[in-house]
């Protein structure tokens, strides 16, 4: 009985925080300890961080799409290597789905730190008007299409060679994450040529917007993140996901209130069990906050990993005041 109580005392948000910080250390400093997880990591493991523990797949995708062109022209193994990295990425996504975003991503953790700072200052979170939010969700697909289309144009010589990593060149992760390894050079304007100057201006302008946005709004950058779009496209093969039992829902709206991405679909869905939208991070905040037994759950294939429970919510309120 005591064992069960001890187990119940371990809260999911605590485990998540622990995993996030461990993920941050591995992704940011792993290379310094000889840990390198390859080029297919489905989160912002930024290659511009000196001594990082793996490379974000978006960089690999841009690189392989660009260089894959020459591999296709040569008809060679280079294309197989590109497909191999994609297969590994797809496998990692199939296994953990968007846990990569909600539980591992170092840039996600930085956003959570900024949100915690906002709460510490007693500043209220800002909301985005519904119509604007709907329009903004398309930006991540636009960025993803840029990632796919621009590198081959650079390889083919239609665009300047410095367009070869278009997303990295405007990704705020590139300017912010290396600061944690003492690297500030990406906060500078790059005066080499017009292309590098244009990209560095865009990067710094976006970084400024994102820093403020991430302070006032939970997971603001995730609204635009092409990883969410890419992982969502692989949803049919993903084993891990969020489901809802509509008949158990009492309509309290807790799921909508605690969601860092302000997703309404989980609350509104009354028919389908599948409530995993393209913006969901699988952070499990909604499951934790749901007071109805079995209404929401995180599942791995048919296995239920964590489900909503009235007792859990009561315990959270009693013990942690959340």
């Amino acid at each position: 009985m005591r064992g069960i109580r001890a187990m119940r005392a371990i809260k999911v948000w605590k485990i998540r925080s622990l995993v996030q910080h461990a993920g941050f250390i591995v992704m940011m400093y792993g290379g310094r300890f000889g840990v390198h997880l390859g080029s297919a990591i489905p989160c912002f493991a930024c290659p511009f961080v000196p001594g990082c523990g793996g490379y974000c797949y978006l960089m690999g995708l841009q690189g392989y799409i660009g260089f894959g062109m020459s591999a296709v022209a040569a008809g060679g193994v280079g294309l197989l290597a590109a497909l191999g990295w994609f297969a590994l990425f797809a496998m990692l996504v199939a296994l953990l789905g968007k846990l990569w975003c909600g539980w591992v991503c170092p840039f996600g953790l930085i956003q959570d730190w900024l949100s915690a700072l906002r709460r510490a200052f007693g500043v209220r979170e800002r909301t985005i008007p519904r119509n604007t939010a709907r329009r903004l969700t398309r930006v991540k697909y636009l960025l993803l299409s840029g990632i796919v289309v621009i590198p081959p144009l650079a390889t083919a010589g239609i665009l300047h060679e410095d367009f070869y990593l278009p997303f990295c060149n405007i990704c705020p992760g590139k300017s912010i994450l290396p600061l944690f390894a003492g690297e500030a050079r990406y906060l500078a304007l790059n005066l080499d040529n017009r292309v590098t100057l244009g990209f560095s201006i865009a990067l710094l302008a976006i970084t400024g917007v994102m820093l403020v946005g991430m302070f006032f709004r939970d997971r603001f950058f995730c609204v635009f993140c092409p990883f969410l779009a890419l992982i969502h496209l692989l949803k049919p093969i993903t084993l891990l996901g969020l489901t809802k039992e509509p008949e158990s829902c009492i309509g309290c709206g807790n799921c909508r209130r605690v969601c860092p991405m302000a997703i309404e679909a989980v609350y509104k869905e009354r028919v389908s069990r599948d409530v995993q939208g393209d913006a969901c991070l699988d952070c499990a905040s909604c499951v934790e906050a749901c007071p109805s037994d079995f209404a929401l759950s995180i599942n791995f294939s048919k296995l239920r990993l964590f489900r909503s429970s009235r007792d859990y919510v009561a315990e959270l309120k009693g013990k942690f005041g959340r």
């Binding site: 000889g34 280079g78 060679e161 080499d192 976006i206």
Partner: protein, 290 residues
């Protein structure tokens, strides 16, 4: 002082300065280098092409150049291939595989792994013995070895420039000091920028430091900066040694973030953040229900 006297004084000062410069150059520059300045009598490598093969490997074609109109004899070519090992900042270069290549002015190396290739050559021209070396990064993925390689136990003990390649990713860049050394090297080394040919004038002379190293910073190049990230130039170092010369060709790439403005960047970042902050606060005041 009359105007004529001033003019005479100016002329004589100018003459004195010019003569001092000439004297300093003549006295400070070793005789061998002066001779080399007139007739660049050395052997050197350059990369002719570098491309991926159908099997995922890489081929690099090198061209050996030397004093024109002379007969080269006893040409020997040896390759040292140093694999990259480890991950992250713990990366290093492993023990080199050493092999001999067929003596020719045009040499093609096949690389099937991630490695740093060092190509060495020796040739006799008349009574003089000349040595040349070059380093090139290769990123083959086929796992195959060079089919024309004849493995040998160890590289010959030729005089060769060594360059500090650091650990993980050696890629010499403009604007970054390059440190190299040559065992029992001369006090001065000539540097030829951008693949200068024998007929071209040498670019500069670098002096050996008390620690025995030569340090050189290849200047940023406007044309290189305008080109893409793979743009590079050949920088050749030449040392006159007793009975010949030693050259070393190093491909130097455009510096990533070579010419930057951190101050400008921070101003832009702050402006962007301030504008966004104003927008957020302004929107909050106009629509207080949010």
């Amino acid at each position: 002082m009359s105007r004529e006297r001033v003019m005479t004084f100016k002329k004589s000062s100018l003459f004195c300065v010019s003569f001092s410069l000439f004297l300093a150059r003549t006295l400070l520059m070793p005789e061998a280098l002066l001779a080399a300045d007139k007739e660049m009598n050395f052997l050197r490598w350059r990369v002719a092409s570098q491309e991926r093969t159908r099997d995922g490997g890489m081929t690099v074609s090198f061209e050996l150049r030397g004093p024109s109109g002379t007969r080269w004899e006893d040409v020997e070519i040896v390759c040292r291939a140093m694999p990259r090992e480890g991950v992250g900042t713990a990366r290093s270069y492993g023990d080199p595989d050493v092999y001999r290549k067929r003596a020719s002015k045009n040499v093609t190396i096949y690389s099937g792994r991630s490695e740093l290739i060092e190509l060495l050559a020796e040739a006799r021209v008349g009574d003089a013995r000349h040595y040349a070396s070059i380093v090139v990064n290769c990123y083959g993925e086929s796992g195959k070895t060079d089919p024309d390689a004849e493995a040998i136990d160890d590289a010959p003990l030729w005089p060769v420039f060594r360059v500090d390649t650091g650990s993980s990713y050696f890629r010499a860049q403009t604007g970054t000091p390059i440190e190299l050394w040559l065992e029992a090297g001369p006090p001065f080394v000539e540097v030829f920028e951008n693949g200068a040919t024998a007929s071209a004038a040498m670019t500069s002379i670098i002096e050996r430091s008390p620690s025995g190293k030569y340090s050189y910073t290849s200047p940023h190049d406007e044309e290189l900066a305008k080109s893409g990230y793979t743009a590079k130039k050949d920088v050749t170092f030449v040392a006159a040694i007793p009975g010949g010369s030693v050259s070393f060709c190093l491909p130097v790439y455009r510096a990533f973030y070579g010419r930057t403005s951190l101050g400008g960047g921070l101003v832009l970042l702050s402006s962007s953040a301030a504008a966004t902050l104003a927008l957020v606060i302004g929107a909050g005041r106009r629509f207080p229900w949010r």
